[in-house]
Amino acid sequence: MTVDSERESPTRDLPGILEEDAEQWTAKLRNAAIDALPPQRLMPDRQPAYVASWIYVFGVLTLAALAVVIATGMVLAIMGPTWWHVSPVGHFVNSLHLWSVESFFAFMVVHLWGSFFMAAWRGKRRLTWVFGAFAFLASVGTAFTGYLSQQNFDSQWIGTQAKDGINSTGAGAVFNVLNFGQMLMWHIVLLPLAVGVIVGVHVLLVRRRGVVPPFALDEPGEPDDPPGTAGIAGSAGTASVEGEA
């Protein structure tokens, strides 16, 4: 990375990185993180030219919706779970939370459809897909516990119905959907943490591997080995011949 010679080094006042410290866990973790995600890869200024479709915005729309879900949830948490039943402002914030959840799921599923039809797992991106799938499933669980935490008729019905499915698996002995306190804590502590970690890993994997390149267009039925390559990803590129402008 070139540093503008007009600027002073941002690390000028810090102790240097010394060879003798390289065995420390801190150094190893830092080096592993930098190797995996150097700054230009973590926050790049450019994307491959094929990233040119509106379908690509649904990932970031999902993230934005998640941010609104969390923000509105935090406001509800400030005033407690009963607030929205007794205050018009509270009800307004609850409505924001509900519609941001509906938006989140809508954008996430469209993003899933797009990622599927782009076969976005290709080229060592399978783990990105796996974490995306987990994000979806964890989100369903988070929404479910949210509906249970409403403290109204809907919560009563959902809880008394859902208990049968969950009890049949044996999980109902611990995960008691009729226990409001427990369900609220799962909804505001455990599951958002899980979703946050899963989504975080998913986004970092996208940055690490990059956005999946397009399929190569070949004759139907022909083998799809790109000519001039001996095999798989990591060999010569498809879109431009090396050295050409």
Binding site: A64, V68, N167, L178, V212, L217, G231, G234, V241
Partner: protein, 333 residues
Amino acid sequence: MPPTSRSERRSRSFKPDRDVAEWRGAYVRYDLVKEFLVALGVVALLVVLLTVAFSSPDETPVTVRSWSTNNPVDFAQTAITELDGTSESATYGPPYNTGSNDTQSIGFFSPEKWVGVHIPINTAQDFVIGPLRTLPDRPDVTAALDRYQAAPASQQQAWTAAYEKAVASATFSNGVLHVVHGAYGPVAAIIGDLTSMARSGALDGALVSSRQFYATDYTKPLLFIADGNYLNDLAGAQHLQGNQWGMMNETGNYPGQAWLWLYTLWYQVPPMNSSSSGDLEVWAIMMLLSLVMILVPFIPGLRSVPRWSRVYRLIWRQHYRSLATTPGTSAKT
């Protein structure tokens, strides 16, 4: 990503649904932070507009008090089944009790049986006798309960069976439950007193209270309420019942949990829709399908659907066009 050696690449054939040749072509400016902030603004505006337009539903919850006030006969009909141990909660089985011979299973696989009882519920004691005994200064109630509990089981069953038959045609007026005359022992008084206790609101509190002051666990009142028809009828009116695809629905005209469409679908089709182990069967199917969704990249055939469907030709048509028009390159490789 470290390059693989030629020999490694040769040893593994290129599968277009699994592999891809990494991009060596052009990059264009793309401001990720700006994109996120714009998306945040758009979503925030959308959510505010939806909120101003539609708000959110908040149907008043059912209480034992509202149930017994609006339909005291249904309450009494439920209460007698709690006392004689024939209600759905009383015969549920794990995790509440061992009262059921119908624990759900698929062959030998019966996790609810293996896990056992962890939330013990004895409906006669927890829903009827225990709450009534909290009433102060009611020697008549205490006497009725003592007489009932002192009687042999066969006598108790004779009383409750007779009452259960009679309460099917009970009426309610002037604050009193009217049942045709019969040999019910103390049972008529017990159910009558419980109905009055419920209508006063005291039963709601008695059901929630536990060993500690602060209560957040509504298992007992919810199980009791769900055993009756009142909650169920309200749900049916809102199209929330299982056979109405209610799992996906919300009260009123609000959108619900549309993403549960596949989960609720299996409850509508045989054999799950009439199976006594339907819940476990549907869970097993959904666990399997969830696994399939997670493992799409690893499943040949399924992972080829994107390429076969050719939807990608629409998504990347700008890219393919640019390759076709750039000298020295080709969309085909």
